[in-house]
């Protein structure tokens, strides 16, 4: 009985705060994406015409964790198969945040664009059941003036 109560409390906490957290995070991501919209990111690696800067490596990384409710929901989804939206939003948040941090670093260097952007995802927090707890995303590229 006690275990059930703890489980339900965790589930509600995860649902409530997780949702709030995620909404706030997405709002801040959208706001900062607007702010850095002048800084363009490209995934090609060739230098644009008439580029006269040296280029410098910039990186941005973030570790984002999934909440308790979503972890349970994803586990249930795993039984049925199909899209696991809980994880989709997790990695989306992490990627967009990592790119934004990279852009912030590029902005500090006075860059106008970042080329050859690469994204690397790794799951860093696994518990005993080997379920994904958190993902780390690194975004890196070469900043040009």
């Amino acid at each position: 009985m006690e275990q059930l109560i703890i489980f339900l409390v965790l589930l509600t906490l995860g649902f409530g705060f997780g949702r709030l957290n995620e909404r706030r995070h997405f709002a801040s991501i959208r706001q900062r994406e607007q702010q850095y919209s002048h800084l363009l990111c490209f995934s090609f690696r060739h230098l644009p015409q008439g580029c006269h800067s040296e280029g410098q490596l910039v990186t941005g990384s973030v570790v984002v964790s999934i909440d308790y409710f979503k972890r349970i929901a994803a586990g249930l989804r795993g039984l049925l198969g199909g899209r696991i939206t809980a994880y989709e939003t997790l990695v989306e948040r992490a990627r967009r945040e990592a790119v934004l941090r990279m852009k912030a670093e590029a902005e500090q260097l006075g860059a106008s664009k970042v080329i050859n952007v690469k994204l690397e995802t790794a799951s860093v927090f696994k518990n005993a059941q080997e379920t994904v707890g958190a993902v780390e995303v690194v975004a890196y590229g070469t900043a040009l003036r």
Binding site: E22, H25, G55, Q56, L57, V64, E120, A122, F125
Partner: protein
């Protein structure tokens, strides 16, 4: 030392290729931070302690790569790649590699 993840250094000619250089580090999680992260895991969101830890580790790996490149007499590292892998449930390996070159 110029670090770049494209194959050239803009406006500079590559004089010599000196081969691949690499740097890595394996970091384990800090006990106190681990407990906090465990709590944070209930509500979700960014685990800033881990972000910091991995950033430090990545910087360290990059520094090791730079030291290796310097010992080879290089003044730039091009085509740099980052890679992360979790070795066990408690540790992560950060790996950086690139090509050491001499530019003028």
């Amino acid at each position: 030392m110029i670090i770049s993840n494209i194959e050239t250094i803009p406006n500079k000619a590559i004089r010599e290729h000196l081969g691949m250089v690499q740097g890595n580090t394996v970091r384990a999680k800090h006990m106190g931070k681990d407990i906090l992260a465990g709590l944070k895991n209930i509500v979700g969101g960014e685990l800033s302690a881990y972000t910091e830890l991995l950033n430090e580790a990545r910087q360290e790996a990059t520094d090791r790569m730079i030291v290796q490149a310097q010992s080879m007499g290089a003044n730039a590292v091009i085509n740099v790649r980052f890679s992360t892998s979790s070795i066990s449930s408690g540790a992560a390996e950060l790996f950086v590699y690139g090509t050491a070159v001499k530019v003028d």
